[in-house]
Symmetry: C2
Subunit: 122 residues, 2 copies
């Protein structure tokens, strides 16, 4: 008879099941929490430069991530505008919004899975 | 109406939902794939030194991991034997076996979650 896991762990401590989730392509991480945050910050700020700065990464690094995202997507995910009234900037595309919506839903289901697993050990 | 995620991703590429899972204590990783592999290798080899070598880590690092595992567990997880016919060695305890069994079950459920999510996007 298997002992319940909580009898193995110290009683005065609080344990939690946690994890990380991402979309892979060809065995490599494609879309996870990092690119998700970058798209969110571009959507908020309207600028790759500002988004990168907020995340403590270089503009070049942010462009590399966007380039990789675009490479595997059927539509461009970030659209840059040159000039105009506000002097240019970057917008996320409707396809990027769909990808983000998908990730929100996936994360919600994952959180529910993690909560259930944490409940089972507490 | 939300577009299905597969219409956003390139059709000729194969995507997969993947992730990582661990047990946390006080907001810090406690037991995940690394400690799991270490316990498995100690169980197989009967030796912390051999297990550490197989994982490309130092003996000291392996001992640190074991010490942290023991710290939060109600029972010692690795038992070292000095001397004897075989000149000592290390064994995993029944409590460690229970922790491993728990992790196998958790991983199985997680894999089933990931497969379902991958199926939904393919």
């Amino acid at each position: 008879m298997a002992k319940p896991i909580k009898s193995i762990l110290k009683k005065n401590l609080s344990f939690k099941v946690n994890g990380s989730l991402w979309l892979e392509c060809g065995g490599k991480k494609y879309f996870g929490p990092g690119p998700m945050e970058l798209l969110e910050k571009i959507a908020e700020s309207g600028s790759i430069t500002k988004a990168a700065r907020q995340m403590g990464m270089s503009y070049q690094k942010a462009c590399q991530i966007i380039s990789r995202l675009n490479k595997h997507a059927a539509f461009p995910l970030v659209e840059s505008q040159v000039g105009g009234k506000k002097g240019g900037g970057s917008l996320i595309s409707p396809a990027a919004q769909e990808l983000m919506n998908y990730h929100y839903k996936l994360r919600k289901q994952f959180l529910s899975f993690l909560e259930k697993q944490t409940w089972l050990i507490s």
